[in-house]
Assembly symmetry: C2
Homo-oligomer: 189 residues x 2
DNA sequence: TTAGTTGCAAACTCTTTGCACGAGG
DNA sequence: CCTCGTGCAAAGAGTTTGCAACTAA
């Protein structure tokens, strides 16, 4: 989280970009951008963004959040994230490439900006395919250190793949693993 | 696309996995898995999966498609893809890591299985963060060769970022770029 | 026999949109 | 002023779920 003056200044920069693209600088856009900047790293979704923005300006509606988020995305000033939760998360795009590690067990997201080397590598892969990279977030899924420790020494072929609560809604409701005692999904060997 | 005998054999393997996990081998699951296997590379969504499966067994309902897809995902036999289209696409997981290149301009997806080297690289990144990778699809977004050619020589700072039709529904409906003649979004410099 | 599965339709959740009003330039 | 932008409420789209009937084991 940055200092307030810095954020205020950044907000104005984003608004300036919006203005110079021919759009209007409105109070709502200012508040939403400010909220986005103050919550970098939190990856809020539309609902959270709304609630936080409403603390500054209670009149803001959800439609405006979606419209602002879309505007920013169109101008490529925003990264969208999708963790298969059934909704999107948003983050101001401040660099060209982000890499997130998403734990399928506990749902935690550790994210750090891609260092030059990683970015270069991915760019090279893209080039091989004739692609030109756009600023974005790369989601890499796995099991985090904590969860690995908690799971203990399990053979690769039976590594636990079940999404535990916290991963979002997908993967937790249909068939439960059969049998009374079992509580986890295992990979077939 | 593989030969029929091979697919039939694969279907049985998947069903066997399901059975050995304690679930039942049903006609519907057989048909859906077969459809998934026959459409590898197409990344069908739930609706498309339903339509194609219904050609074999018209009684199949959309709920069963979703439930089967969730079962397979829970067993980590399926990769989910999210291209910000408003729905998910599915693909049988046959390898540990896939890398897709998604063109933000035309919406095309070129995907090739990660070769050993790429997989190793990503795994190393994960290891640095204490992560253990799970089978998955990595979506890398950019602009494909064709679209780049079409766009011509545009400076990096003004590179076109607008999602053209075909990218899905996000990013195409709210504010249009202002002014009568302009049809594209440009990045602020 | 019996617990897991299915199809249907209703319910849900997130996102988008039509419209009349309001506000930036 | 004249558009563009906003809030509201309704509409849409994809996904999930309750339930009675069905079926694999």
């Amino acid at each position: 989280m940055e200092k307030h003056e810095d954020i205020d200044q950044l907000v104005e920069q984003y608004l300036e970009a919006i203005k110079s693209a021919g759009f209007r600088m409105t109070t709502q856009r200012r508040v939403i951008i400010e909220t986005l900047l103050k919550n970098m790293g939190d990856h809020p979704n539309a609902q959270e963004l709304l609630e936080r923005a409403q603390k500054v300006d209670p009149s803001i509606g959800i439609a405006t959040v979606y419209r602002t988020v879309e505007l920013l995305n169109n101008m490529d000033l925003l990264n969208l994230t999708n963790l298969q939760e059934g909704f999107r998360r948003y983050e101001i795009a401040d660099e060209n490439l982000h890499i997130h590690f998403y734990c399928r067990c506990c749902g935690s997201v550790s994210h750090f900006s891609a260092d030059r080397e990683k970015e270069k590598t991915v760019r090279e892969w893209a080039r091989e395919a004739g692609f030109r990279l756009m600023p974005q977030v790369l989601e890499i899924q796995g099991v985090c250190e904590n969860c690995q420790a908690e799971l203990g020494d399990i053979p690769e072929e039976e590594y636990i793949l079940r999404c535990a609560p916290g991963c979002g809604r997908f993967g937790r409701r249909v068939s439960q693993p059969p049998g009374r005692g079992r509580r986890r999904w295992f990979r077939n060997s």
